[in-house]
């Protein structure tokens, strides 16, 4: 059992009468990647803001590395790295200047910005103003900024949203490496495929409440429906595709019937995706 780095108890936030986050509870261990999934407006960013000490909860508490974040925010923030959903860099400064500023705020001596820029694939562009960077480059620079203090917990809010595959791959590799190095990663996203690949655990948040929290494989096993997809050509030469559930009482009979109805062209099993499960649990899609 790894040490708990994030412990959330009954965390609630209300904007007036609207409850954005509603009594949520969870724990995250050292080196673990938690995918925090939900559609826009589900309460993801509000949760991150409370976990990083930017917002005071209406109810409940958050312990980060064993300390109450709101009583010891500045002490705890020394160990946090935060990458925001929207690019909030100093656009009139270059990448090195941006990183050096934050290194000074973390009081890091002998900071080598170029090492970090190389890690995120931005070396060679370090002297350009950030304003000239593409969205992917800005995201990578924000990730570099979040890594300046070698954080024990990394909060990443939609780090690959709208990025090209190369930028996404770079960021995925860094997340995996950080996790292997013992950094806890709190990954907020609505991209279920990426979350599935990267996360040890995923939490579904919907309308401010956690609808499910488990390992992706466990969720699939518990909620997902396995299917057999069969493509068959009948006697007249027409092709038919059948999706046959495998976990029902009469599954065997249905498979037999399908196979007997013509010539089998292709047959493969299909596993439920996290998105399917999310829809099943919450009754709504991720973009809604």
């Amino acid at each position: 059992m790894t040490a708990t780095t994030i412990s959330v108890h009954n965390l609630t936030y209300r904007f007036g009468k609207l409850t954005a986050v509603d009594h949520i509870n969870f724990e995250v261990g050292e080196g673990e990647v938690l995918g925090f999934l939900g559609p826009n407006g589900a309460g993801k960013t509000t949760t991150v803001r409370m976990l990083t000490g930017q917002l005071k909860p209406t109810e409940g508490n958050v312990a980060i590395l064993g300390e109450d974040i709101h009583q010891s925010a500045k002490k705890v923030q020394q160990y946090l790295g935060v990458s925001f959903e929207t690019a909030n860099l100093y656009e009139e400064m270059n990448a090195v200047e941006n990183l050096n500023l934050f290194a000074r705020l973390f009081k890091i001596r002998n900071f080598k910005a170029m090492d970090l820029l190389e890690k995120v694939g931005l070396s060679g562009r370090e002297k350009e103003k950030v304003a000239a960077y593409s969205k992917g480059m800005k995201q990578r620079l924000m990730l570099a900024r979040a890594l300046i203090n070698q954080p024990r917990i990394l909060f990443l809010d939609e780090p690959t949203d709208g990025l090209d595959p190369v930028s996404s791959q770079t960021i995925h590799a860094i997340i995996r490496q950080a996790s292997e190095d013992g950094t806890t990663v709190f990954l907020t996203t609505h991209d279920m495929v990426k979350a599935d690949k990267l996360s040890h655990h995923v939490a579904f948040i919907n309308k401010g409440k956690i609808a499910a929290l488990d390992q992706p494989s466990e969720l699939k096993q518990h909620y997902g429906k396995r299917l057999l997809k069969v493509e068959i050509e009948d006697d007249s030469g027409r092709k038919h595709t059948h999706s046959l559930p495998l976990d029902e009482k009469d599954s065997a009979e249905k498979v037999r019937e399908a196979f007997a109805s013509g010539r089998v062209l292709t047959a493969h099993t299909e596993e439920a995706t996290l998105e399917d499960i999310f829809i099943e649990i919450t009754g709504r899609g991720l973009l809604g």
Partner: protein, 353 residues
């Protein structure tokens, strides 16, 4: 940490081409404007007079000398010249009026004044003509009464009645307020950008405290405003007049504009919004400076504008030799106003993070 933020803000301030150009232009233009203005008070009033044909040449010479008026040939010429602004006032004495004066009778004369003449100036013209004509003995050409023209003003002579102040020196507080206003705009934009671009949030999830964030902005704002205005006073050679009071007043003035910049940044969102708010505040803040140049237009309500106390302190210290005792209350009120704006702006800004 505060040092790192100040260094960053300094870079960003001068990397914004608009503020770089406006600041440099302000420094050069305000100093140039100061030197372009008259260095000595202009207390002359240009007047013209038309006399009848039968007036003797001695009389013509005497009347024009006594009134310090230019002698014109006809009423039409005089009216046109006055209306064009060549003269501030003029009068026509016909034969009847001249005869009446000669006989010592009461005469009503009409004074024509230039367009835009203020009521105060009209009154001054009436006094001038009344005194001028009543003191002339046309027979002898001698002055009947010797009027003592020394004026003693009770209390501070801020209208420049007794000892007129050169226009450039009356203008200096206004020029300094305008430089302060440029700085106000730059700082408000810098703070507003931290909010709109979300960089303040990035800063505040590091060990940096909100108080340190505000302190850095305040020190940069005050530093720039103080140095820029100090440079102007050095360039115009006024730093030696009352150096301690001047430095004190500029420091407290810097606090005021920094406070107003916080206040503007708290309510503005984006460059255009900052610009609009800043222009509004600029117009309000420079009003007391305009009041120093045109004292008669300033009403008492102008004393409700915090910058009045800065302008008043600067004007008294630089142009009338006022000491600490005279400007102490001004600076205290100014300090209080600056602090109030700073706290109010900081409080609203804190809620926007």
């Amino acid at each position: 940490m505060i040092g790192a933020l100040i260094e960053k803000d300094f870079k960003l301030y001068f990397r914004n081409r608009f503020f770089l150009v406006v600041t440099l232009l302000g420094l050069v233009a305000f100093v140039a404007l100061y030197y372009l203005m008259p260095s000595k008070p202009d207390d002359t009033i240009a007047t013209a007079i038309v006399l009848p044909e039968n007036a003797t040449s001695e009389m013509k010479a005497f009347l024009s000398d006594a009134m310090d008026s230019n002698l014109l040939a006809s009423k039409e010429e005089l009216l046109e010249a006055v209306e064009n602004g060549d003269y501030q006032a003029g009068t026509v004495l016909d034969e009847a009026a001249l005869a009446a004066i000669d006989q010592g009778k009461a005469v009503t004369i009409t004074v024509y004044s230039a367009p835009g003449t203020t009521p105060e100036f009209k009154q001054a013209l009436i006094s001038l003509y009344t005194a001028g004509f009543n003191n002339i003995d046309l027979d002898t050409g001698q002055t009947k009464i010797k009027i003592n023209d020394k004026i003693i003003v009770l209390g501070p002579d801020l209208l420049g009645i007794g000892e007129p102040v050169a226009l450039r020196d009356r203008m200096l507080p206004l020029l300094l307020m305008m430089m302060f206003s440029i700085e106000l705009m730059g700082l408000a934009n810098l703070i507003s950008e931290e909010l709109t671009q979300g960089t303040a949030r990035a800063l505040l999830v590091t060990p940096l405290r909100t108080g340190q964030f505000f302190a850095a902005k305040m020190l940069l704002g005050m530093g720039l405003a103080f140095i820029e205005t100090l440079l102007i006073t050095i360039a115009v050679g006024k730093i030696t007049v009352a150096p301690v009071i001047l430095i004190g007043a500029l420091l407290v003035g810097s606090l005021l504009v920094t406070g107003v910049a916080f206040f503007i940044a708290a309510f503005a969102g984006g460059f255009m919004s900052v610009l609009s708010w800043s222009v509004l505040f600029l117009f309000i803040l420079i009003l007391p400076g305009i009041g120093v140049i045109f004292p008669t237009i300033a009403s008492n309500w102008i004393k409700t504008i915090p910058s009045f106390f800065l302008v008043d302190a600067l004007h008294r210290a630089l142009n009338y030799g006022a000491g600490w005792g005279d400007v102490r209350m001004d600076l205290l009120i100014l300090f209080g106003s600056g602090l109030l704006f700073l706290l109010l702006g900081g409080w609203v800004l804190r809620r926007r993070f």
